[in-house]
Symmetry: C2
Subunit: 505 residues, 2 copies
């Protein structure tokens, strides 16, 4: 996509771009790879520069800003900030290390498939702009290549790649092909239909192994260049669970109940007894970091002893790591199952929708029932980090499930797909009170919902964040980092999640 | 991208496509979403049909197949098959259930960002083909839109989406904009530069929440349609680990050693003592499913008691779930650290490259040292499943690390990024002997390497798969499913990973 700029800067950018691609093309050593950065990462800057040049064209034509839309592009809010969790003396060093870790993270997680590419207008080139993928070291036919121009003496196109080589799967008469088995191939013919027929048989073979990256291919003819991406990735092998034979939902085959306990064996036993009234053969996994662990026995009970006080999320991560059924139901050790706790409803939602996790409702001794539905969004920031916005509420209702909604976070009573919840995990660095941190780690990975018609009772007299009179008080913690726990959690938000601030409403 | 086909079938496809998009456009109820399938999934079939039509053009021009390349496109191998792990009587039912689970998996993991899209030649439309993304329910400026045609009375373009609405961030004189705030917007002007200036300010707002999907946008002018994708996804919040202050690698801050033990407390103690000679303060996490657990104590030791015989991979998953440092080093409980076991070298590789996991070498009592490097590839299959190909060897050397290579699987002595290994996990369904299954689950997720200059000694007299005389014997298990364990593992390959066969060389 080399635009006919008269701009000197853009001409320079084009030459530079071609030079870099040429250097990749000419280096044919497959014996070693340079893993100190993602393949093709040098090109990103060039792509960004070209998009910028496009946006700067027509600059002589004035415009009038629409404030309402501007507000949606650049929202402004006041927030709690996290850098205050660090001493002033250590903050510069912490910022520097965080930036280093973030650069390393980006190197590993971004690829040429993330660049903005703009298709040039009026180009005689036809080519695939999306969907071309190849497994590492494998070969594919490139779909959709073509040249559509007026008849002329010689029709010619060429392709250039950086992480693979080209060939043809079949040969068409009266077409000359040069560069077979190389990173640069030229195809030419006096007859356009023949060239187009030949273009249906161009193959790409990935030569530079990487389990998950992308190659940038330039497709050129005289005066025009198109750019497209070939994704290079190992097949993602599915993780399917066998639900067992027969009709209907066999809860004991589909669901494992998981919980963590600490010092509350009496409450734990009440929970287990209540579960057994309704689900006599469901496996219950218990992570226990009590100081003097007592046996917890019974059929279909799995009891895990942890080092004393190892922690809340460590215990959650442990319990969930042991589940072998398709779904896992999280409960706290002071819940009680009642006849309203029909977990088949959770299974029904997860079986029939694309949700990965569905929360229920917790009924306090007062009768107050909470679902703790929240939405979460991330406002991208500069090198100081992003800002997180958490709001009570939900996104949408769910068709076919009138008691259910879509949200980003729910209460601590939920059922989830085991493979997905294991993929996100509960960070064992969170030792004491933590809840929303899991859903923050889950953003973009889990599709979360909430149904208010699956209700579990809560026996504890300890006040929890979602108690009716407690919401504002509990989240005062987000505003005043007065305790050691809060400081530790703020430091984690700052470094681990690269957040500078959070707002909560 | 409506090509000027004279083909009736393609004309029909176009009308159908437009009709479906129109129906999405007209449904403006944001209160509920239908989660029974991925948004936009009906369009996939149409995209596939259009690519097919392109490939069938020029069919009158003959070609001659190149056998060598055909071989790379369609390789043929003989293999061990997995369906034999099921009784003939249950196989049909198992196949049916597996197909159901797979359909559900695809619904959740695919989106409009996976379709093949082909850019039409000679279109006056300029538009972004890659890289446009928006967070759920947020707004972006669409980059790169333009119309490049000869001056005429009226220049007009329109955009249509399914999961969002359009607006303009700024207004340009002498441009008419209709459909602001809707899924279909039309922009027109008598002056082409003014229309192009206005196109620099078109915004897209996602209205249909989904944590990870894509919208298909049609960008049209008279006679031409271009299609591009806007990815809709929550920001992926990073998981960065704080390596601590000061220069150099502080192993105790960066690394946790993890192992699983069963009945071998003497060997375990030898391992711990050998580690302590070189790394006195590194945390060692021990998962223990012995029948009569004994205490394992000492500073920086974390001992976890599991239900008796819970299993090998359950223990591995447990141990890894408890790690709070940036890296985790996996060791077997019968290894011994020596002066050759310099794990700083592992840290150096992981700090400086994009690798997620790096294996070392295990030295047997005989002196034989193994790295167990393998490559793995997946041959896509039909509804009977894919076929896995495992080969001894590696892909490439690694620049800057002459003792290291890139592969897909390594020996059971390795260091990995904690967040990545937790993301893949060790499937607790694997109770007894298992090793490569982890690397199969890791395909496309972990970037794996192997360095032969970090060596640990192995004390056990039990023969392991990578013993010099044992390789073929051990993998005879892949060929003859004679034991209960092997049958259970084959059933897992068949159902969980949807594999029909495996070859090993």
């Amino acid at each position: 996509m080399i635009m006919r700029f008269t701009h000197k800067a853009s001409a320079l950018a084009v030459v530079l771009f071609a030079a870099i691609l040429l250097s990749f093309w000419m280096s044919v050593d497959y014996r070693t790879v340079d893993l100190r950065s993602q393949p093709g990462s040098t090109l990103k800057k060039l792509f960004d520069q070209r998009v910028q040049l496009l946006q700067e064209s027509y600059s002589e034509i004035p415009f009038r800003i629409k404030e309402s839309v501007l507000g949606m592009l650049f929202p402004r809010v006041s927030a709690k900030v996290f850098h205050t969790a660090f001493q002033a003396s250590e903050l510069e060093e912490v910022k520097r290390r965080r930036a280093e870790e973030y650069q390393s993270f980006k190197k590993r997680s971004q690829s040429a498939a993330d660049f903005i590419i703009v298709a040039e207008a009026n180009s005689p080139l036809q080519y695939p702009t999306q969907g071309v993928k190849v497994q590492p070291k494998k070969t594919i036919l490139i779909p959709g290549l073509g040249l559509k121009e007026q008849p002329k003496k010689l029709h010619s196109v060429n392709l250039t790649s950086t992480l693979g080589i080209f060939d043809v799967a079949a040969e068409v008469e009266m077409v000359k092909v040069e560069g077979v088995g190389e990173k640069h191939i030229t195809l030419s013919s006096n007859f356009l239909p023949h060239l187009n027929r030949q273009l249906q048989f161009v193959t790409y073979t990935n030569t530079h192994f990487h389990p998950n990256t992308a190659d940038t291919v330039e497709f050129c003819t005289e005066g025009y260049t198109a750019v497209f991406t070939i994704k290079i990735r190992h097949s993602l092998i599915p993780k399917l669970y066998n639900p067992g034979s027969g009709r209907g939902y066999k809860i004991s085959k589909l669901v494992t109940i998981a919980t963590k306990t600490f010092l509350r064996y009496d409450k734990l036993q009440v929970l287990i007894d209540s579960i057994r009234q309704f689900y006599p053969t469901v496996t219950i996994v218990i992570a226990d970091d009590s100081e003097h662990p007592k046996p917890v026995t019974g059929p279909y009970i799995e009891h895990y002893i942890m080092p004393f006080g190892k922690g809340w999320f460590a215990g959650r991560n442990l319990a969930v790591s042991q589940v072998t059924t398709k779904y896992v139901l999280w409960v706290d050790d002071d819940f009680i199952f009642t006849s309203d706790t029909k977990i088949e409803k959770f299974v029904d939602v997860l079986e029939k929708t694309t949700l990965d996790l569905v929360g229920g409702a917790v009924r306090e001794v007062t009768g107050y029932t909470a679902t703790f539905r929240h939405t979460i969004s991330v406002e991208p920031g500069d090198e100081d980090g992003d800002c997180l916005h958490i709001r009570r509420g939900f996104h949408h209702g769910i068709q076919g499930f009138p008691n259910c909604v879509v949200s980003d976070a729910v209460i601590n009573f939920f059922m989830a797909r085991t493979d997905k919840i294991q993929q996100v995990g509960f960070d064992p660095q969170l030792v004491r009170i933590a809840h929303l941190e899991f859903f923050i780690d889950a953003l973009g990975v889990l599709h979360v919902g909430s149904c208010n018609d699956v209700i579990v009772s809560h026996t504890s007299k300890i006040k929890l964040p979602w108690g009716q009179s407690e919401t504002d008080k509990a989240y005062a913690k987000f505003r005043e980092p007065s305790t050691t726990t809060q400081v530790a959690q703020d430091r984690l938000f700052y470094f681990k999640n690269r957040l500078q601030c959070l707002t909560y409403k």
